[in-house]
Symmetry: C2
Subunit: 196 residues, 2 copies
């Protein structure tokens, strides 16, 4: 049965997400208009509202999708070894996952202010779950005396901040390969949490 002329639900939806993701990352949520998104998708502005009830929901969906994909990708990893080995796997996973999704990462950090309170709480809880995964590794290592940190919570936030910072400067094709970056950061993280 032929589809109604001009009906492209199966491709327009994903295209809206992709275009909004890129534009929000590039110019910021507040600076991007629905008309601009529509133009780059190739539809009229009104058509966007077949896919999102409003602009806020569009932002929230992008951020929530990113955070749940981050969590499920981490949980799918078959973690093996002692605390030191699991920490190394976290460092590699974090850098790899984040470098492969620069726009999503950028939005997830920069647009928290533009979420409604309820949406903000939901995203922050997902972020808390991810941070908790790292803190559990650090705590285990401290218990086994293979790590020594003054405060596992702060060490968690410190390590994640350091690792996520890679996204601000790394450019594919630059001086360092992704594997080299992973090695360099692992060296610094490994020593930062090691006993004296």
């Amino acid at each position: 049965m032929a589809r109604t002329q001009g009906s492209h639900s199966d491709i327009t939806g994903p295209r809206i997400n992709a275009v909004a993701l890129r534009l929000f990352a590039q110019h910021g949520y507040a600076a991007v208009s629905m008309r601009q998104i529509a133009r780059e998708v190739g539809v009229q502005a009104g058509a966007l509202y077949n896919y999102t009830p409003d602009k806020q929901s569009l932002l929230f969906r992008l951020m929530k999708t990113h955070m749940t994909e981050l969590l499920s990708a981490w949980r799918e990893l078959d973690l093996s070894g002692d605390a030191r080995e699991r920490l190394k796997q976290f460092v590699q996973f974090h850098i790899r996952f984040h470098l492969n999704r620069p726009d999503e990462v950028f939005i997830a950090y920069m647009e928290l202010r533009n979420l409604t309170p309820g949406n903000f709480t939901e995203i922050e809880q997902l972020r808390g779950e991810y941070e908790n995964a790292l803190e559990m590794i650090l705590k285990a290592g401290v218990d086994e005396s293979v790590f020594a940190v003054p405060d596992t919570k702060i060490a968690t936030l410190g390590v994640i901040a350091m690792l996520t910072g890679v996204n601000t400067w790394y450019r594919s094709g630059g001086r360092l390969s992704q594997a080299e970056v992973e090695t360099i950061y692992w060296d610094m993280v490994r020593k930062a949490v090691a006993p004296d």
Copy 2:
């Protein structure tokens, strides 16, 4: 000589900067209107243009003032001691300076996208000068073999990212004092750049 009625140049100017700083940090540059700034300052929107040619210049002035104050505060420090001691002073200085200016720091990182290309270049150059100050310390330490990092440039960016991350979670009156935070981060940074 009596001043013209309604003329308050000496207090309106600083108030505009203070209000704009707070609102830009809270809601983002693009989401804040000139009318909103004027309302909280206590003047009409048109009066703002006696103090700034346009909204962009207002943002740029805030960011440039912050970066130049950061640099001059660092340069005024009388650095003493070996590389290890100078690194410790950098860590303490960075945390202290940034925790005392949360709105300025937030804007300086989050609103880079909203600068015109020329203004962006100028801010990035100032940031580069600050990063260079840390890298010089790290290089000196590597030369003296008191530090061992795989790459001084990346170590610089990694340390700054870790330290600046404090601003995302630290709240005055929370679990840790500012001095405790400085001690904890110094412990991690010290080990991260130390030889094995």
